[in-house]
């Protein structure tokens, strides 16, 4: 019912967050439109992961507001659970349910949260596993899969909820180099299909060709935000220039 509002899908306004005395998000404001792919880059400890995790309230914020699909994030409880079911999340360490098969990982959410019939949910899960290219792994447990396969399964698990947006928190950082490509391919195809995505990553190649916008964070602040071509060719801030010179030289 709120989907018709003209408001962007995700709106962060003056968000502050502390870990104890550490000020990890400083007055961050960001809006993400429907269908937009925003890549967040920045040095470690700059607050990018925290920002990503704040959007589905895995990290509560200390001040400011976060609105998703026209609604401010509710407090922990049923309403928040319902909101989270609309926001897919992919973690650095995959976090597939270790005691469930890949197929059960993907169908758990639809069955328990969406109350879909198990048979239908499994059928849909198989279709998603096909989309990410791991149908042959459906009956295996996460520990039996390679990192790249696990992360693709985790993406399928998030997609099974038919989310309105997907959050990727360093999805390729825990992968062996040869497996990064297979995961980025899936993400690129998602981006092409018009999924709203926020991606925290160090993969500048992905940022260049799949992002609509690159957001640069440093020291808890959102320093600049520009289309990838512009950001990589002529960063405005000194901090972004410094960051890019460090990562693009090798």
């Amino acid at each position: 019912m709120t989907a018709t509002s003209g408001e962007p899908l995700i709106v962060l306004d003056s968000v502050d967050k502390y870990f104890g005395s550490l000020h990890v998000l400083r007055n961050v404001s960001l809006t993400v439109d429907r269908g937009e792919v925003v890549v967040i880059v920045g040095p470690s400890g700059s607050g990018k992961s925290t920002l990503c995790r704040a959007i589905n309230r895995l990290e509560p914020i200390d001040s400011g507001t976060i609105r998703f699909d026209g609604r401010e994030l509710p407090a922990e409880g049923k309403a928040l659970a319902a909101l989270r079911s609309d926001v897919g999340m992919v973690f650095q360490s995959f976090n597939l349910f270790a005691h469930k098969t890949v197929l059960d990982n993907v169908s758990l959410g639809p069955i328990k949260v969406r109350k879909e019939k198990p048979a239908a949910a499994r059928e849909q899960a198989m279709a998603l596993l096909d989309r990410v290219g791991i149908t042959d792994q459906a009956g295996k447990f996460p520990a039996q899969l390679s990192g790249g396969q696990q992360q693709r399964a985790a993406i399928a698990r998030a997609l099974a909820m038919r989310p309105k947006a997907m959050l990727f928190d360093e999805p390729t950082s825990a992968l062996d180099p040869e497996m990064v490509g297979e995961v980025l391919d899936v993400m690129t195809s998602l981006a092409r299909d018009g999924m709203t995505m926020i991606v925290v990553t160090h993969e500048m190649g992905f940022a260049r060709h799949a992002a609509n916008r690159v957001v640069f964070m440093d020291d808890g602040q959102l320093v600049e935000s520009a289309p990838p071509a512009e950001f990589f060719a002529s960063p405005r801030s000194e901090r972004a220039k410094d960051f890019l010179s460090k990562i693009l030289t090798h």
Binding site: N56, L58, V87, G88, N95, L96, H99
Partner: protein
């Protein structure tokens, strides 16, 4: 040593009564412990406080005192064993044909006492489950209850099974207190009857009673070792 054979029926019936106590108290302790553990990990502060208070009380008061209260304090407070007239429980008790109040009182004491230890064993299992598991479940939109039920507890049980086994073994040994709180016919009561009242020699009775407990505890210990070995083998 002839006593072991001559009085076999006394030992056997003592074993049977103790086994019943252990089974019923064990099931009760597992249920109570699970409920209290869920309370202790819940996001609601009042529930957590109740869970913590429960564990603090029952883990730190001697079982003798808890049993004493159950056997003599509860009747003093005006309750009879009738307050246990829960339909299912009642059916079990009458099926066992032991419907003495002290039997029930002691099971309550042992179950509530052991429940605190079950809770802590389970909670150590919950802590062993990677926090990412619960985060993934939350981000899918699972509620706290669904998260605990489908994601956290099924994995926590596996981590908790060995400490839980130790808790159950301790409970079986603790059940020996039953004889001192009016439960007649249990192994520990048989020990008392055979030696103090009938004046039979101590050593053979001691051996017979010990065998009774060992039959319950040793296989459990072996089973736990097996589980642990299989776990070590499965770990990568």
């Amino acid at each position: 040593m002839g006593i072991l054979i001559d009085r076999f029926d006394t030992f056997a019936s003592g074993f049977w009564v103790t086994l019943q106590i252990c089974f019923l108290a064990g099931v009760g302790a597992l249920i109570i412990g699970t409920v209290v553990a869920v309370m202790r990990i819940s996001p609601l502060p009042p529930l957590r406080a109740v869970g913590t208070a429960y564990v603090t009380l029952f883990r730190n008061v001697p079982l003798t005192v808890v049993s004493f209260f159950a056997a003599f304090g509860l009747p003093q407070l005006g309750s009879s064993a009738n307050f246990l007239k829960v339909p299912v429980l009642d059916a079990i008790f009458s099926r066992l044909a032991i419907d003495l109040p002290y039997f029930r009182f002691f099971i309550i004491a042992l179950g509530f006492y052991t429940g605190a230890f079950v809770c802590e064993a389970l909670r150590s299992g919950v802590n062993a489950v990677s926090p990412g598991q619960a985060e993934a479940a939350r981000s899918l939109g699972l509620t706290f209850t669904q998260n605990v039920r489908y994601v956290v507890l099924p994995q926590a049980w596996k981590f908790a099974i060995v400490p839980l086994g130790s808790v159950i073994i301790a409970m079986i040994k603790n059940s020996a207190l039953s004889g001192f709180f009016g439960v007649s016919g249990s192994l520990s009561d048989a020990m008392n009857t055979l030696t103090s009242q009938e004046g039979l020699p101590l050593i053979p009775v001691f051996i017979g009673i010990s065998i009774g407990y060992l039959i319950m505890t040793v296989p459990l210990g072996i089973l736990l070792d097996q589980v642990e070995k299989r776990r070590a083998g499965a770990a990568r």
